[in-house]
């Protein structure tokens, strides 16, 4: 079956990666179907980036099997990479080139002919929302513009699969929204996406399925809604302030489950009313009530917040 028709875009079995004694990826198995958006969630150091590098053939597995677009990796990584687009964690746009030149030379690395690239570049500039900035130097672009250009660059070879390593880290909310809109656009075009992130909002909005990773292992996999339902009570009350601990000692039994992360107390409950009633009279603390989300799943599984360093 050729690369264009393969339905399982990624297939990974028992994948391990060790650096000396340190196990970075520890027996990971999963697959990604065509047209799916898979989110890879985990704190820094969870093994996400190493996992992605192995999929691309730029890190060699210590054990396990990888098949990308029906072909074995790393043995056929070069041929596979011809059909993949990559947005790396740190921008590596070529600072010696303008916006247009960056797209052009990157296309050359894929062996694409000049005429084809010249025909394609205007549409990519449009996609990156940089139609007027073709001649601009990379140093003159904002963080959001650079990310959009990196995303457009990843599309130069019309890839089957896009691999995005923290595509919106460090961007302001507007810039992030624009990236999300573009990624959704790509999904409607039938592209397959793999995204690592530690923004649970990003994962909830974009991903059909998320894998939660920590210490090189996959802790759980499922759609964001399913994971929340399976792991977390529907109501969450976050409490903070000097009196939070004292209140917890007295009234904590009103919650089904309690997690303390940093200075915040998280109370999880099937029924939120008794908790809210008890809290409303309290002085010296503040609280907020919200529905359960992916972050709660993560806190429950790892005892840490998503953004925290591993």
């Amino acid at each position: 079956m050729n690369i264009e028709q393969h339905q399982l875009i990624v297939q990974v079995e028992d994948l391990c990666k060790r650096f000396g004694d340190r196990v970075v990826v520890d027996g990971v198995s999963f697959s990604v179907r065509r047209g799916e958006c898979l989110g890879l969630l985990g704190p820094n150091g969870a093994g996400k980036t190493t996992l992605l590098r192995m999929l691309l053939g730029t890190a060699i597995p210590s054990a396990g099997r990888i098949e990308m677009l029906g072909r074995p990796v790393p043995s056929q990584a070069g041929a596979v990479r011809a059909h993949i687009g990559v947005v790396p964690q740190l921008d590596n746009l070529d600072p010696d080139f303008s916006v247009v030149e960056n797209l052009y030379i990157y296309g050359r690395y894929f062996g694409l002919p000049r005429r084809k690239l010249e025909a394609q570049i205007p549409a990519l500039l449009e996609f990156a929302a940089l139609p007027e900035r073709g001649a601009a130097k990379i140093g003159d672009l904002s963080g959001g513009m650079k990310r959009r250009l990196t995303l457009a660059r990843a599309l130069i070879n019309d890839p089957q699969l896009l691999i995005l390593d923290e595509p919106t880290t460090g961007l302001d909310p507007q810039a992030r929204q624009l990236i999300w809109r573009r990624l959704r656009q790509l999904l409607t075009q039938g592209k397959t996406l793999m995204i690592t992130t530690h923004y649970m909002e990003e994962a909830e909005r974009l991903c059909d399925r998320v894998m939660v990773m920590d210490n090189g292992r996959i802790l759980t996999t499922g759609s964001p809604a399913d994971l929340i339902r399976a792991h977390i009570e529907p109501h969450v009350i976050e409490i903070y302030g000097p009196a939070a601990e004292a209140w917890l000692a007295r009234e904590g039994r009103l919650a089904q489950r309690v997690e303390c992360v940093g200075e915040t107390v998280f109370c999880y409950a099937q029924d939120e009313k008794p908790l809210l009633q008890s809290l409303s009279g309290e002085k010296g603390l503040r609280f907020s009530h919200r529905p359960a989300n992916l972050e709660d799943v993560f806190v429950k599984l790892t005892g840490r917040e998503l953004g925290a360093a591993g």
Partner: protein, 250 residues
């Protein structure tokens, strides 16, 4: 098109933007050596190996300028592309592999050697330091010299953890080579062990071919000299690919 050529092409496109300052910088220094030493020192030295000193010196400076251009490009500039700009990281997630990157960079160091040596050859010709048209063979030789020193420089870069590292290479390898390969004076006046040691320096072999070509003297042992240069180039290339693969593919 061979895909590694796109790496070479990238560097050509960047160079084109900065060609003028780059030419002035790279061309100026060897030209100063040639004029200052050729005429200044030449007035005291008189004839060397039966020729005016500036004629003797010109062929050496052509070789040294090819060596320096390839060395600079293969160390500092390649390191910037690898580590500072992460250009290689971007390339290595396209169909290109480490070997393509090294080959493209090596081809570019050889191109820079040619770009730097050719104007010196022209100036030498204008100063009357070139004997006949046979000197045009120096142009392809500059490419060979570029491949030799480019490959060696890339091996050094594969070990480098910062720019300081290149100072060791410049001080311990390139400068002694610059001084002890017969660029400025004939080696036969040196102690025996220096002469024998110089036979291991690739620049010595480059000078041994280029000098007769520019001054119209008979060539000797061309195949041997070329083999030494090729051995450094091919050995260096293979070693650089292996080292960069270890460094970049974890």
């Amino acid at each position: 098109m061979k895909q590694w050529l796109s790496v070479w092409q990238r560097n050509v496109l960047v160079w084109r933007k900065l060609a003028l300052p780059s030419l002035v910088g790279n061309f100026g220094e060897p030209l100063l050596y040639l004029l200052a030493l050729g005429y200044g020192l030449g007035a005291f030295v008189g004839k060397v190996q039966g020729m005016p000193y500036i004629v003797f010196l010109a062929s050496g400076i052509v070789c040294a300028s090819a060596m320096n251009a390839a060395t600079l490009e293969g160390t500092y500039s390649a390191y910037v592309r690898m580590s500072v700009q992460q250009t290689w990281e971007g390339i290595l997630v396209t169909p290109l592999g480490v070997r393509d990157v090294v080959l493209g960079e090596l081809a570019w160091t050889a191109t820079k050697a040619l770009i730097n040596a050719a104007p010196i050859l022209l100036v030498a010709a204008l100063l009357g330091a070139v004997h006949d048209w046979r000197a045009l063979w120096v142009l392809p030789l500059a490419v060979v010299v570029g491949l030799t020193f480019g490959a060696m420089a890339l091996v050094v870069t594969a070990f480098a953890r910062g720019f300081d590292f290149f100072l060791y290479y410049a001080t311990l390898v390139i400068t002694p080579m610059f001084l002890l390969s017969g660029v400025f004076f004939p080696l036969h006046g040196m102690p025996e062990f220096v002469q024998r040691g110089a036979q291991f320096l690739p620049l010595t072999h480059a000078v041994e071919i280029v000098r007769p070509l520019m001054t119209g003297q008979p060539l000797s042992q061309v195949a041997w000299h070329l083999m030494v240069l090729a051995a450094y180039a091919l050995g260096g290339f293979a070693l650089a690919v292996w080292l960069f693969r270890k460094r970049l593919i974890t």
